[in-house]
């Protein structure tokens, strides 16, 4: 039976754009010495032109298998994949010309060759003309900050530089559909941030290019993608924007708020009142006349109004009030059924 994603949001505006990728009821299982391990089960999804979609999931969820099927490195057992309206199985070479794969595997380069020579070689594989290849390589090396290192052998590159070169390789043929396989894995926070910034800027400049980004960095998906797909045990369990996922969880559970106020002391004035929607209340250490309250309320209830009214009625002044968003990590763990560490 075809499993259905537990959280699906039908997008509004992007539905007007043509579908670049349509995956229908995709199934894949690996057989090894008689034992069968399902990798993907009944996965269906659509990605539209210009979108950047995140692919999330715990280790072993099927992300890599899905990416490899899209990159034509693995054949599915069942279902179909259509890229720009063409069946991937019927014309894989046609699809490969339009797909750019950015892998995090630094071994996939020729270590004795320079960064530029590596890019020239892969550009030729994709049939990019000599002059156009030179222009694109120069542009990519410059925007990625690799121009000075371009002539150096690849084995002298740092991990961050190797990852940047992997991005350059994935984009050198100007693909219309880019697959990123954990582009910031094993990078230090600063290098990861640089790569994320570059991807975001490039995406803005690339216009109609479509991107699928597999990552385990939830903040990365939140920063770069307008929609995420979450795989768990080979099944698609969510296909929605991060905002929709948050809203769904916020509606279902509780909300946390921080209220900064003056001329108000919590001592003995307010206590949890479930009947009013106020579940927890605590004061952070006061700073002069100001104090900050942290409250947890029933989502959709009147707990926040209850507290604000109490502050104002006692002569206090509310300086700021903000609602904390639920950490994506918490939502992710909840979706895949694992307790947060």
């Amino acid at each position: 039976m075809k499993p259905a994603a537990i959280l699906v949001e039908r997008n509004g505006g992007s539905c007007q754009r043509p579908a670049v990728l349509e995956v229908s009821d995709l199934g894949k299982q690996y057989t090894r010495r008689g034992s069968v391990r399902p990798a993907l089960e009944g996965v269906s999804l659509t990605i539209r032109e210009g979108e950047m979609v995140g692919l999330l999931g715990p280790n072993g969820a099927g992300k890599t298998t899905l990416l490899k099927i899209l990159a034509t490195l693995i054949e599915p057992d069942s279902g179909s994949v259509s890229l720009f309206g063409r069946d991937l199985a019927r014309d894989p070479a046609w699809a490969r010309r339009r797909i750019g794969l950015v892998t995090c595997d630094e071994r996939s380069f020729y270590w004795r060759l320079s960064g530029r020579h590596n890019l020239e070689f892969f550009a030729t594989l994709y049939g990019v003309g000599r002059r156009l290849a030179r222009e694109r390589i120069d542009m990519l090396l410059e925007t990625l900050g690799l121009t000075e290192a371009a002539g150096r052998p690849y084995h002298t590159y740092s991990t961050g530089m190797r990852q940047k070169l992997a991005i350059a390789r994935g984009l050198v043929a100007d693909p219309r559909f880019v697959l990123y396989d954990e582009p910031t894995r094993s990078l230090d926070p600063l290098s990861a941030q640089n790569i994320r910034n570059w991807i975001a800027e490039n995406r803005a400049a690339a216009g109609n290019t479509t991107h699928l980004l597999a990552t385990n960095q939830l903040n990365e998906a939140e920063r770069l993608c307008e929609r995420v797909l979450i795989l768990n045990r080979g099944q698609l369990i969510a296909d929605a924007s991060i905002g929709a996922i948050r809203a769904r969880f916020a509606a279902a559970e509780t909300a946390t708020h921080r209220i900064r106020c003056r001329r108000f002391s919590l001592a003995g004035r307010l206590h949890p009142a479930p009947a009013e929607g106020l579940l927890e209340i605590a004061a952070e250490p006061a700073e002069g006349e100001s104090c900050t309250l942290r409250i947890r309320t029933q989502a959709g209830g009147a707990g926040l109004s209850y507290v604000l009214r109490a502050i104002l009625d006692s002569g206090g002044v509310v300086e700021a009030c903000e609602t904390e968003s639920i950490p994506l990590e918490e939502i992710f763990c909840s979706l895949v059924g694992e307790p947060r560490a």
Partner: protein, 267 residues
């Protein structure tokens, strides 16, 4: 053509970046010529009865055997080694996601190896001319060229078939070692096949290198032409057609199998 050049340039740059290894390999080939020279002197420079049909000179017999076997081994095992190497270094997936098919990738990846093999082939022939045994007057160049081409085609087919095997079974070193020794033993690389017992000779006839060596020695040492060598050339052409078809079919099957079970880049 640009694609072929890109592969050639890549492999040349990688090979030349290991300067010491590159020079050591050429020196090793020169030393092998020295070994062959002294072995042939030990056996005697006089004409040997068992080599009479090739002109009787053992040094020339050995040099042609070694020169052609060098090219054959490149064809036979070079592709399998490339597949294995690109699996372990991780470059196989990166090339397989490009629009170029695996047989073409293997063909173009062999160009540098073939060029170096041709250089060594000419070096061995040059050594034969300098050290004795080979004479330009007794060489038939057109027949030599046709034989060389057919031999390469035969073993290209066998080589990509073996590459397909390595793609599936991964550890192909044992097969490569065994295959290399068997080819050397049965094809008459270092001694005439006529010295082997009848039953072994019949097996040897099934190996294309036996036919190729016979033809090459006759063309280079006795000046035999294409017409005289026609039966041998025809046999090599049949070998080439069968092995090329089997090789391309086998490799496509292996790639399909690898894509199905997701094991293309595993090693």
């Amino acid at each position: 053509m640009r694609l072929a050049w890109a592969f050639f340039r890549r492999d040349a740059a990688i090979a030349l970046s290991y300067r010491a290894a590159f020079v050591a390999q050429l020196l090793g080939n020169l030393l092998l010529v020295g070994i062959l020279y002294f072995v042939s002197r030990t056996v005697g420079l006089s004409k040997l009865p068992s080599l009479e049909r090739y002109g009787g000179n053992f040094m020339a017999f050995l040099l042609i055997g070694v020169a052609l076997t060098d090219t054959v081994l490149i064809s036979l095992f070079g592709f399998a080694q490339q597949v294995r190497e690109s699996q372990t270094t991780g470059t196989l997936e990166a090339t397989l996601v490009s629009p170029v098919s695996l047989p073409l990738i293997l063909l173009y990846s062999s160009l540098w190896g073939y060029m170096m093999s041709a250089v060594r082939f000419l070096m061995y022939l040059g050594a034969g001319l300098v050290l004795g045994g080979l004479h330009t007057g007794s060489m038939n160049a057109p027949a030599t060229a046709v034989l060389f081409l057919l031999t390469v085609m035969c073993f290209f087919g066998a080589g990509i078939l073996l590459a397909g095997v390595v793609l599936v079974v991964k550890r192909g070193e044992a097969i490569i070692t065994l295959g290399g020794v068997l080819v050397m033993l049965l094809s008459g690389v270092l001694f005439p096949v006529s010295l082997m017992p009848d039953w072994l000779r019949r097996i040897a006839e099934l190996i294309p290198l036996t036919t190729a060596l016979e033809g090459m020695r006759l063309a280079l040492l006795t000046g035999a032409g294409i017409v005289q060598l026609a039966p041998l050339l025809l046999r090599l052409a049949v070998f080439a057609a069968v092995l090329l078809a089997a090789g391309v079919g086998g490799l496509y099957y292996a790639v399909r199998l690898g894509r199905r079970n997701g094991s293309l880049s595993q090693y």
